[in-house]
C-alpha cells in the first residue's frame, strides 16, 4: 500500500519459541483478513492440522465477532487457538475482560489481572473463575469475584468487592481491596491461611486451628474480621 503511513495489509504467520503466531494486519477490513487466513490455512494444510496457535491482533482492534468468526474457521481446519494477544494495552485489557487467555507458555498465574481503577466503584458485575486455584496462582478482580473450585494454600485471591468461593478456601483471600469494609468473603468451607477485608487482616491460628466444617461467611464487625457459619434454616421438623 502506498499510503502516507504504511499500513499492514497482510496476515503473517510467525514461528516463535512459544509456537506459531497468526499476526493480523491493521489496515484492512475483516472480510479480507478472513479470506487471507483461509488461504494461509489451505496453502499449508498439513502444517496447520492439529496445531495450536496464538491469534496476534498486534495493533488491530479486536472484536468479539471477529474472534468468533476466526475461531469457527480455525476449528473447522482442526486448529486450536491457544491465546489471543494484542499490543495495545487497552486492547489487551479488553481481551482479558472477555475472559480470553492473552499469552501462552506461562501458566495462568494471574488469571484476570485488572488494574484498580480508583474512582470506579464496584457495581453489580463479577468476575467468574471456574477452576481450582493451586499453589502459586493468583486472581485479581476489580469488582466481585466468584470462584467455582478450591483456593488452595499458596494461592491468592484479590477482589475490589465480595469474594464467593464455591469450594474450600485454604489459601489467602482479600476482599474489598480498595478499602470497602462492607465487603464479605463467603465459602463452602473457610480454612484460610489468611483473610483480608479492606485493610484488616485475620490469620489462621498458629496452633490447632479449628475450622468450621460448614459454609461460612467472613465480614467486618466492630473493626474486626469475624467468621460465622452460614445457617440454613431447617423448615421441616
Amino acid at each position: 500500500m502506498v499510503d502516507g503511513e504504511r499500513l499492514e495489509t497482510t496476515v503473517r504467520v510467525r514461528g516463535t519459541q512459544d509456537g506459531v503466531r497468526l499476526v493480523l494486519p491493521r489496515g484492512v477490513p475483516f472480510s479480507s483478513v478472513l479470506a487471507q487466513v483461509r488461504e494461509v490455512l489451505e496453502s499449508k494444510a498439513a502444517f496447520f492440522r492439529g496445531a495450536a496457535l496464538v491469534l496476534d491482533y498486534a495493533e488491530r482492534e479486536p472484536s468479539l465477532d471477529e474472534i468468533a468468526a476466526l475461531q469457527h474457521l480455525l476449528d473447522s481446519r482442526g486448529v486450536r487457538i491457544q491465546a489471543v494477544s494484542a499490543e495495545v494495552p487497552e486492547h489487551r485489557e479488553r481481551l482479558v475482560r472477555w475472559g480470553l487467555r492473552t499469552e501462552v507458555g506461562e501458566p495462568p498465574r494471574r488469571l484476570r489481572l485488572v488494574e484498580p481503577s480508583g474512582e470506579e466503584g464496584v457495581d453489580g458485575s463479577a468476575t467468574y473463575v471456574r477452576r481450582t486455584l493451586r499453589s502459586g496462582m493468583s486472581v485479581e478482580a476489580p469488582g466481585h469475584l466468584i470462584v467455582i473450585g478450591d483456593v488452595n494454600p499458596g494461592a491468592l485471591v484479590v477482589a475490589g468487592g465480595d469474594v464467593l468461593v464455591w469450594g474450600v478456601v485454604r489459601g489467602t483471600v482479600h476482599a474489598g481491596r480498595g478499602g470497602d469494609t462492607g465487603a464479605v468473603i463467603a465459602a463452602l468451607r473457610l480454612a484460610p491461611m489468611q483473610l483480608r477485608i479492606a485493610q484488616l487482616v485475620a490469620r489462621s491460628p498458629d496452633r490447632g486451628g479449628q475450622l468450621l466444617d460448614a459454609p461460612a461467611l467472613a465480614r467486618v464487625v466492630d473493626g474486626q474480621i469475624v467468621i460465622e457459619p452460614w445457617r440454613i434454616e431447617r423448615r421441616s421438623s
Binding site: 493451586r134 499453589s135 478450591d150 499458596g154
Partner: protein, 274 residues
C-alpha cells in the same frame, strides 16, 4: 533384543516440585517393576548436573555417553543406552554431570522422546526438582505425569504447584504417588494421611508407598527394592507398575505396621521369618 519392530511407547514423567521426596527412587523402581513384567523400559535422567538415577540402579560405572552427548550429536542414541545388569529389558540414559539444565531444550527433549517411544514400551523420565527449565524439559515430551509427594505440608504445597503447571501445559491430570507414609504416625495423627493429601490435590491416586528403611540400604547398594519380593515398599512399586498397565490393584492396607503383623503371625504359630 535388536528387534526393529516399531513400537508406540508411553512417555511418563515422574516429578514432584520439592526435592528429596523420592522421585529418583520411584523412577528406578517403577521402571524395574515394569521391566520385570517383560516390558521394554528406558529410564531417562533429566536431572542434568545432579546425576543420580545411575547410582540408584548401580550403573554408574558403565556410563560413557549421556543425554547431552545425544542431543548435541556427539554419539548415537544407541551408544548412550545402558542396559541394566539384572533386567535385560531395562535401560538407562544417564544425565550429564558436568553440564546444567540449559544444555537441553524442550524441543530436543521432545525429539528424544519421539525416538525413544519407537523403541520402548515405556519411557520414564526422572524430572529434577523445581519448576524451571529442568522441569519444563522433563514434561516437554510427556504423555502422562506422575507426581510424587510425601505426607508433609511443604511437599504437598509444591506438588499442588506442579499439578497447576502440568494442567497449564495441557497434559492430562497427573496421577499421584504418596511416598514414605508411616502408618503408625498417621494413626497417632502426627502425619498427614493419604486422604488429607488427596483432599488438597484432588487428582487420581496411583500409589501409596510405605516408609521402609530397607529402601535406604537398597538404594545405596544400587538394588531396586521392586525386585525384592519381601519388601513392602517394593510391593507398592510393583502395584504402581501394574496400575500403569491398566490392572485394577487394590491399595495395600496401611493400618497394620510391619511389627504388629510379625508379632501377630508369630502368635498364630507362623515361623519368625523377617
Amino acid at each position: 533384543m535388536e528387534e526393529q519392530q516399531e513400537r508406540n511407547g508411553r512417555v511418563i514423567t515422574i516429578t514432584s516440585g520439592k526435592g528429596g521426596v523420592g522421585k529418583t527412587t520411584t523412577t528406578a523402581n517403577v521402571g524395574a517393576a515394569l521391566a520385570a513384567r517383560g516390558k521394554s523400559v528406558v529410564l531417562v535422567d533429566a536431572d542434568i548436573g545432579l546425576r543420580n538415577l545411575d547410582i540408584v540402579l548401580g550403573l554408574e560405572n558403565r556410563i560413557v555417553y549421556d543425554i547431552v552427548d545425544v542431543v548435541e550429536g556427539r554419539c548415537r542414541l544407541r551408544q548412550a543406552l545402558i542396559r541394566d545388569k539384572r533386567l535385560s529389558t531395562l535401560h538407562l540414559i544417564p544425565a550429564a554431570q558436568t553440564r546444567d539444565k540449559e544444555a537441553v531444550s524442550p524441543e530436543q527433549m521432545q525429539e528424544l522422546c519421539r525416538e525413544l517411544r519407537q523403541q520402548f514400551d515405556f519411557v520414564l523420565i526422572d524430572s529434577p526438582a523445581g519448576i524451571e527449565r529442568g522441569f519444563r524439559n522433563a514434561i516437554a515430551g510427556a504423555d502422562e505425569v506422575l507426581v510424587v509427594t510425601n505426607p508433609e505440608v511443604s511437599a504437598v504445597r509444591d506438588a499442588d504447584r506442579i499439578v497447576g503447571l502440568v494442567e497449564a501445559a495441557e497434559l492430562p491430570p497427573p496421577r499421584l504417588i504418596v511416598n514414605r507414609i508411616d502408618p503408625e504416625l498417621v494413626r497417632r495423627g502426627d502425619m498427614l494421611s493419604v486422604e488429607d493429601v488427596l483432599e488438597i490435590l484432588a487428582i487420581p491416586l496411583i500409589g501409596v508407598v510405605p516408609a521402609d528403611e530397607t529402601i535406604v540400604t537398597a538404594t545405596n547398594r544400587g538394588e531396586p527394592v521392586a525386585l525384592d519380593p519381601q519388601s513392602r515398599a517394593g510391593q507398592a512399586f510393583r502395584d504402581i507398575a501394574a496400575r500403569l498397565l491398566g490392572e485394577e490393584v487394590p491399595f495395600q492396607p496401611l493400618e497394620m505396621p510391619d511389627g504388629v503383623w510379625r508379632r501377630m503371625l508369630r502368635a498364630l504359630g507362623f515361623g519368625g521369618r523377617a
